[in-house]
Symmetry: C2
Subunit: 341 residues, 2 copies
Amino acid sequence: MTPTHMAREVAECPAAAARFLADTGPAVAAAARALRQMDPGLIVTVARGSSDHAATFLKYAVELLAGIPVASVGPSVASIYGRPLRLSGAACIGISQSGQSPDIVEMMRTAKSGGALTVAITNQDNSPMAGAADHCLALRAGEERSVAATKTFIISALAGLALLADWKQDRALQAAVAAAPEAFAAALSLDWSPLSARLSRAGSAFVLGRGPAFAIASEAALKFKETCGLHAEAYSAAEVLHGPAALVQAQFPVLALGVEDAALPQVIATAERLAAQGADVFLTGGEAKGAVTLPSVSGLHPLLAPLVLAVSFYSFVEALARRRGFDPDTPPHLRKVTETV
Amino acid sequence: MTPTHMAREVAECPAAAARFLADTGPAVAAAARALRQMDPGLIVTVARGSSDHAATFLKYAVELLAGIPVASVGPSVASIYGRPLRLSGAACIGISQSGQSPDIVEMMRTAKSGGALTVAITNQDNSPMAGAADHCLALRAGEERSVAATKTFIISALAGLALLADWKQDRALQAAVAAAPEAFAAALSLDWSPLSARLSRAGSAFVLGRGPAFAIASEAALKFKETCGLHAEAYSAAEVLHGPAALVQAQFPVLALGVEDAALPQVIATAERLAAQGADVFLTGGEAKGAVTLPSVSGLHPLLAPLVLAVSFYSFVEALARRRGFDPDTPPHLRKVTETV
């Protein structure tokens, strides 16, 4: 059987990461230098879909490593309501695979005219978004044929980490970024068959994470919807206890994305609590009473670990989609480039 | 039959709003004066659950009216990762009914020590969160016995609007806030029976909004989960087209919360697109081809309209919960005060 585009593109993550790191160093360095010079008091991000999950990942990374608050701005503030934001002293990072959605481009222009330093992270360095920005980090991930983004999510988030590491001159994170291709390769094709069996017919599920891994939970939930017709929803492992846990009845499937960082004990505690409610809980990164542990790559930098986990998830979900009878390359009702206003 | 606590508390919204406006004017004025004096370049919000939806509502209101970016900070950044954020020149608004969750209190303290002006919006003005803040806007909404928050969500969001109106000395918004009790009264018990019939047995649904109404969509989706055991998920009416629309098959229920503002045409366009995919679409605030229009209060200020719509939704969902065989006062697995770290 010919592999799907999605399967091929997930498998390309290690090579795409290596190519990005080899080709885009000077552009990353230039943007990092500009960030050091301006010393922004605020970062704003502009993105949609999977790219917005990469932006959420970057939010946690910047807040944890640089101690600077990050605001996600709804593109509608500029594109629909026509409201300029006061952004002097801020940097604006836009993330979009295509760089084409009019609302994203409009918000980048608004940010620049509001005084922000603007950085575009995109696979299309000749796109309108790239043209509207002061700096562009081109992903060079190659064409992505599957409608559901995978390698461009991974390389977008890696680009953000590379920028952060260079900006803050953080040697541990720089080393982690340099080792990303190898870690992504180790993450491919881990055996998550117990989860696959449980989800082969499920209609609903929760995906949990905390801190940077919450962004990966959001991305995983979207991929379940796009490629598997499964209504998965992402929650922080704390937030889920403030209401949504009401939905968790016996046998409700829960995927808890733990990584080896400071939040892991709290993720495990939530996993145990939901398992005690009768949920079918699957956990990465640790062990929880009543939960099934799924394998993951260990011993990673805590900001790289969530991205490595995303590669494992992509590999898993592509196979799950086929098992559920879907073609993961062509989700119903979607096209590759979504243009919203 | 005795009405549920939830039914009584939703019905109390008009009186609670009037009491808040009568009692809390001086506290609102003092906090607004402090905001005018400092002229913050950034607002950060700290909240969880329904209160976080009130914070999202306030984010759109502040960005649209004041043009200042608003960042939601994950409480985990302080409570789990122990990372101080640089917040000089920022104001931090914490929202919590109980004011007791340790992670929220910790983030308020971190914000204050990071240089932020801090404002607590809470129903418990003797709570740890209130004690940690420079200013406290007490809701005075009376005890909320239903686990699912309703009147405290409405009054928290109204408190935010009142603060914004006074801070920016915006007469139109001040007038809208003063008229809120009357508008809330008009919103009670509208006839949404076509939606009730459609959702009497549904397992999954989407709730859509855009701009400030997106916050109400988020709150509505949470209430569906908490009180009806219905897996409803909220999306912006633009975001839903960037992937989640793949889940929308024939007869998938969609509630599109339109209000009379600049985003309404885009909300209608999305409603029509999903109806054309075969979804069962219900819309407020306008008419869309293939969708059922639900009644709502019209002629309101665009920033008050979403809150008024929330009152109508609460009234509806309380009855739907009973129709689905749930006691809306006591959702499974939840307690009134959720303490997360």
